[in-house]
Symmetry: C2
């Protein structure tokens, strides 16, 4: 059985971040055949400076390698001041000059139904980076009032079911996209 | 004569950044009565983490102190991947929990007429942070094709005239806003 490898990226560095908890819970809820790996090193990236070669930064190279090895990317991020968090945008800025997000399937988890500005900005940026946002695997979860931590998310019937469904939909979409890519490569040979 | 003190913030850390050059040129073009100080330490801020108290970071405290001392803020930033640069958004994220931008007059310099997404996101974020964007002092300058450095900007007749005009319009707007604030305080006493 081929494992679908998903890289999970949280836009918050807060230890008790609800977005990070959501991704940790998702990793534990993943069925056989799907592996979710949380990228824990976003806070170790330098601030983006085009004068620094990305290859000279081990932490940037590490993120690129994790992205290259992933079949898809799960992103969960809070909204700060009606925008994408600087932490997440900084990571994306480092990836712009590479192929890291080109044709990469993306699922966006949104822990707050009110965070519409950041999600719109994030979609715009990922789309111009040629990522493939998989809409059927994007979920908005009304979690802000619920005060759930990782264990609470896992034991919450509706939320855990929604996360499992998103993972399955994402896996199916990735398989379809990979098959299309393979067919296109075959046609162009 | 009271000096109008403007803090200039560039959204790029690149040494040859056209936005930074624009702000340096603006500082040199400023007439008597306006002092423009370029904030040179955005790259020294840590990545925003709500678990870290802003008061525990000397570089965050430094930015807040510079903002508190400024009558207005000039921002010039490139657009990265249709969004605000992570470097600039990270700085703004650190300021959200403070009064740093509340009622602060802002002038946005845009070195690229095509950078509409970043400017829109930046306006949304600054507005929700209760800053006062002074539209008559915001200028878009078609500089990308011109390959101008700081000296080239200063010697360019139209661009230097537009920058001087923006500074004068900004100073006038700041004086008007400060007079309105003083009147309101007087009325509420």
């Amino acid at each position: 059985m081929r494992i679908t490898k998903l890289l999970a990226i949280s836009g918050s560095l807060r230890a008790a971040s609800i977005n990070t908890a959501l991704l940790r819970a998702t990793a534990r809820l993943a069925p056989p055949g799907i592996a979710v790996i949380l990228f824990e090193h976003l806070g170790g990236l330098p601030l983006f400076n085009p004068d620094i070669e990305a290859t000279d930064s081990p932490s940037v190279a590490n993120l690129r390698a994790h992205l290259a090895a992933a079949d898809g990317v799960l992103i969960a991020s809070p909204e700060y001041a009606h925008g994408v968090t600087g932490v997440l945008k900084n990571a994306l800025d480092w990836m712009v000059g590479s192929e890291a997000f080109v044709n990469k399937p993306i699922s966006l988890f949104n822990a707050s139904p009110r965070a519409v500005h950041a999600q719109a900005c994030l979609r715009e940026t990922l789309t111009v980076m040629s990522a493939q946002i998989v809409n059927e695997a994007c979920v908005t979860l009304p979690m802000l009032g619920a005060q759930l931590d990782e264990a609470g998310i896992i034991s919450h019937t509706e939320i855990s079911a929604a996360l499992k469904q998103a993972l399955q939909d994402f896996q199916a979409a990735i398989a379809r996209l990979q098959a299309e890519d393979a067919a296109q490569i075959g046609m162009s040979l």
